[in-house]
Amino acid sequence: MLHNDNAWRQAGVTTLPVMFGYLPLGAAFGILAIEVGIPAWGAVLMSLLIYAGAGQFLAVALLAGGAGLVEVAVATLMLNSRHLFYGLSLLRRFQGAGWRKPYLIFALTDETYSLLTTHTGDGGLDHAQAFRISLLNQLWWVLGSILGVLIGTTLAFDSRGIEFALTALFIVLTLEQARRLRQWLPFVIALATGFGAILLLPERHLLLGAIGAASLMLLADYRLRQAGGAS
């Protein structure tokens, strides 16, 4: 059991930055949900069953606006379609994950994807550890939501700015990816599509546009290499 305890502790440390981000963000969601009249159990249920940061904020907005179910489905699909590309790059990694696989797929948020794709390294992250990390991340999110529901609208302590932890996490993970890969290509593509999307697209399509365009450019790169006869 000692080994198991250790694995959980390690997962806890790995997800710590996500905790700093998810607790306040989840709390913000909880507060917002209560404000628009969603009952406390409904808000917590959303964090348990939907589990998507931006998606849940959108859901609250749609609910408050009295949107129809079809509209809700389409908007949610659009907003979350970037997940398609996450799955593409994890097809092999999740192979053989057994009973854990459905949950690993369900819990695939931006932050979990980032942790799972960076910490895998040299086979250092097995399915069990990926599962622990995914589960802990959702735990932080649900706890944050409960916190928000409890707080209602009065914030007791000054946590302004703590959400920067997620930005910091993405920066650190980018540096780690760069160190491991030692190639410019994906970063150049990301800078091009990222800045392009920020300049050209409305905010709600930003991520999908940038990630979709990056995937297409990687596809083009793959074709070029094949045509060039490179191995």
Partner: protein, 115 residues
């Protein structure tokens, strides 16, 4: 809104979200070893990470509309990001980099400090 309506609403959101996550695994289950999938698996994560950084910093737009135009938290965001990068290049301790950068950002935002 009654309980059944709310449950239906949550079910639709949950199903739509899960659909976007599970689709590649269902549609491409047999293609996992295809060289294109391996290519994407290798290069897409770093690209996505870089894009998420840009996305997180998107409110910093010093040249939007052709003039200086910086949100209140813009400079603290950039400075805190530089703190993260410096700390990480120096010590390569993820937790230290993240806590250092976040602490710097919170201090700047809460004290209302901006250059």
């Amino acid at each position: 809104m009654n309980v059944l309506d709310l449950l239906g609403f949550i079910a639709v959101c949950a199903a739509a979200t899960f659909a976007t996550r599970v689709l590649p695994f269902v549609a491409l289950a047999r293609q996992a070893e295809h060289p294109l999938i391996l290519h994407l698996g290798r290069y897409l994560p770093p690209a996505v990470m870089m894009i998420l950084v840009l996305y997180a910093l998107r409110d910093f737009r010093p040249l939007a509309d052709g003039r200086l135009n910086i949100a209140a938290d813009g400079w603290p965001m950039i400075i805190a990001s530089l703190v993260v990068v410096s700390l990480h290049l120096w010590q390569r301790n993820a937790l230290l980099s993240i806590i250092g950068g976040t602490g710097a950002y919170m201090a700047m935002v809460q004290l209302g400090w901006t250059p």
